[in-house]
Amino acid sequence: MTTTGTTPPPTPVPGEVKPRRAIAKREDAAAPGAGKANWLVKLALVILCFLWIVPTLGIVVTAFRTPDAANTSGWWTVITSPLDFTQYTLSNYSQAWNEGMGNAFINSFAVTLPATVIPIMIAAFAAYAFTFMEFPFRDSLFVLIVALLVVPNQVALVPLLQIYGNVGLTGQFAAVYLAHIGFGMPLAIYILRNYMSTLPKAVVESAKIDGASHFKTFWRLIVPMSVPALASFAIFQFLWVWNDLLIALLFLGPGEKEVVTVTVAGLVGSQNQGWQLLTAGAIISMIVPVLVFISLQRFFVRGLTAGSVKG
């Protein structure tokens, strides 16, 4: 690629070509012949990808700019002279990191891990019972839980703050993850039950005849077969909790136990003009969710139950 200096579009293009190819390839594999998207669809995809990428690009570019440059001009001005390396710097990252992000990372994990693992555990048990066990009011109870989905967590902030104050939980990690567990549970139960009800009933009946207790059926059969649903909920919950600012700010606040989102928000607050720091901090904080997503997304494979029953 030859860049003459005054051609605006080339930078984003390499980033877009990749997803387009991946999509086309997958379609071809799934249904040969039917996978030829016409040029209109392709154009729409290019435009959508471009629009989607612009803000991200802005963050990435800003994170590498010097404070002077960031404070005096918009990030898009780099496009006119992308090879002028004097406007770039790596110091934003080290500076953002030194603002306490290392400690905040540990805090974030202390909140996010229990807030992800515990609801999955409880919800999987509940979903199993809702799907495979019979007890009075089963369906009404399930409807009630699903109805809880519409309750926004903001309504509980004040009462929670009072309760936490009474039991001395304010300022503890548990204050945050308990709130997340509670509000993540309805969706977790809903997703897992819906998934489990698609599992072949005969498998559970077969286990029953084989002599498996509910507990064994759950651990040895249903959990392994529900991995796709467990993984997708884990990703969602992890991202929500990791990216949450409101609850963490209220119950933990800035200070010794502040989480990453609070630190990142503080980067611009304390420096007033620190957008290059904020963006660098944001990129650092993004690393973990991206890793989580990449490591779990392979469980999204469809047809994990393939071969169990006739397919």
Binding site: K208, I209, D210, P224, G307, S308
Partner: protein, 395 residues
């Protein structure tokens, strides 16, 4: 002892659906009992009640010498093979087969030995490390059977195990099952809607309709002496020709055909009335190929001739109202009759004759038929009109 006894068993599902009504059935040790009937007739429910997956509403279930009516499936010492195999997708073949034994804490060497024994019997030795997803339909079915085998249960319960296989494989697995039963000698209760499977596999066959047992007997007796119209129409392929026939003295009249009432038939009470006459397609023969002077002959016009190589099916219409047996023609897989639209008030008959027949579409065919093999049914009750004992009648 793998004896299974059902005594006055009924099942009513919540919502009031009566799936099984007062079924009493004794299945002997080592017997291959086939429950057959159209879909929704309750045969699977009967099986699930034996397994303990469905509770009985009324009645008693005995397996071996124990009444198990209120016992859990795992305490009944039975193994079940499901229609859709129900394999555990995340376990390989070896783990699938051994799962039940591992749950019961069978010592590892025993598990290993039994698994490889079953794998050998089912030709699965090369696939032990594979997951179900990497197996063909027939192999999956064999894994499901292997999983049942290693438990060495009192009885195998099989719920339409072959219905998900393609036609060729089904025939193969059918023979395999028959061989396996002979080899193991374990009681098998087998549910199917396919009367060919029922006829070929069963030591005895129980025909079920609307939750009620119709007839329980050997396939031969079901074929030759069906107790009612339903069994007559359900068993046999192509299905029995059924038509309304008038009895006048010693003559039977249906359409334009007149045939003698066979000797020894208890039709005196029906003189001047209408009965339902049933003739098996195989009881017709082309009189120009095989001529037996003692047998009466009818002349018909062939509407369709299907030459199967081994035999030929001649379809012809008879000018008499057809007899519909509810539930018999419902399943397209159950060897349903060829959908030939007959004109109003006429019935379509099938005759299975020697393949050397000269019959062609539109040609006149002379068919001989043996009145001694006729079946008569009461028009109102659908029950068979018993003939007096006739040793030659069902050879």
């Amino acid at each position: 002892m793998g004896r299974i006894v059902l005594e006055h068993v009924s099942k009513e599902f919540p919502g009031g659906v009566q799936a099984v009504r007062d079924v009493s059935l004794e299945i002997g040790d080592g017997e291959f009992m086939v429950l057959v009937g159209p879909s929704g007739c309750g045969k699977t429910t009967i099986l699930r009640m034996i397994a303990g997956l469905d509770e009985v509403t009324d009645g008693e279930v005995t397996i071996g010498d124990r009444v198990v009516t209120d016992e859990k499936p795992k305490d009944r010492d039975i193994a079940m093979v499901f229609q859709n195999y129900a394999l555990y997708p995340h376990m390989n073949v070896e783990q699938n087969i051994g799962f039940g034994m591992r749950l019961r804490r069978t010592p590892k060497p025993v598990v290993k030995q039994r698994v490889s024994g079953a794998a050998q019997a089912l030709a699965l030795l090369d696939y032990l490390a594979r997951k179900p997803a990497d197996l063909s339909g027939g192999q999956r079915q064999r894994v499901a059977i292997g999983r049942a085998m290693v438990r060495e249960p009192k009885a195998f319960l099989m719920d339409e195990p072959l219905s998900n296989l393609d036609a060729k494989l089904r025939v193969q697995m059918r023979a395999e099952l028959a061989r396996l039963h002979k080899q193991l000698g374990t009681t098998i209760v087998y549910v199917t809607h396919d009367q060919v499977e029922a006829m070929t596999l069963g030591t005895r066959v129980a025909v079920v309709r609307d939750g009620v047992l119709q007839q329980v007997d050997t396939p031969q007796v079901l074929f030759h002496n069906p107790v009612n119209l339903f069994v007559a129409g359900f068993i046999g392929s192509p299905t029995m020709n059924l038509v309304e026939a008038a009895v006048t003295g010693d003559k039977l009249e249906f359409g334009s055909h007149r045939l003698p009432v066979p000797p020894g038939t208890a039709l005196e009470a029906y003189n001047g009335r209408t009965v339902i006459l049933g003739i098996r397609p195989s009881d017709f023969e082309d009189a120009d190929v095989w001529r037996d002077e003692r047998l009466p002959v009818i002349e018909v016009t062939a509407d369709v001739v299907e030459d199967l190589g081994t035999e030929a099916h001649v379809l012809f219409s008879v000018d008499a109202p057809p007899v519909q047996v509810e539930g018999v023609d419902e399943d397209p897989e159950a060897g349903a009759p060829i959908p030939l639209v007959a004109a109003e008030g006429t019935s379509v008959f099938t005759a299975a004759v020697d393949a050397r027949t000269a019959a062609r579409i539109g040609s006149t065919v002379r068919l001989s038929v043996n009145p001694a093999r006729f079946h008569f049914f009461d028009r109102d009750s659908g029950r068979v009109i018993r003939s007096r004992p006739q040793p030659a009648a069902s050879s």
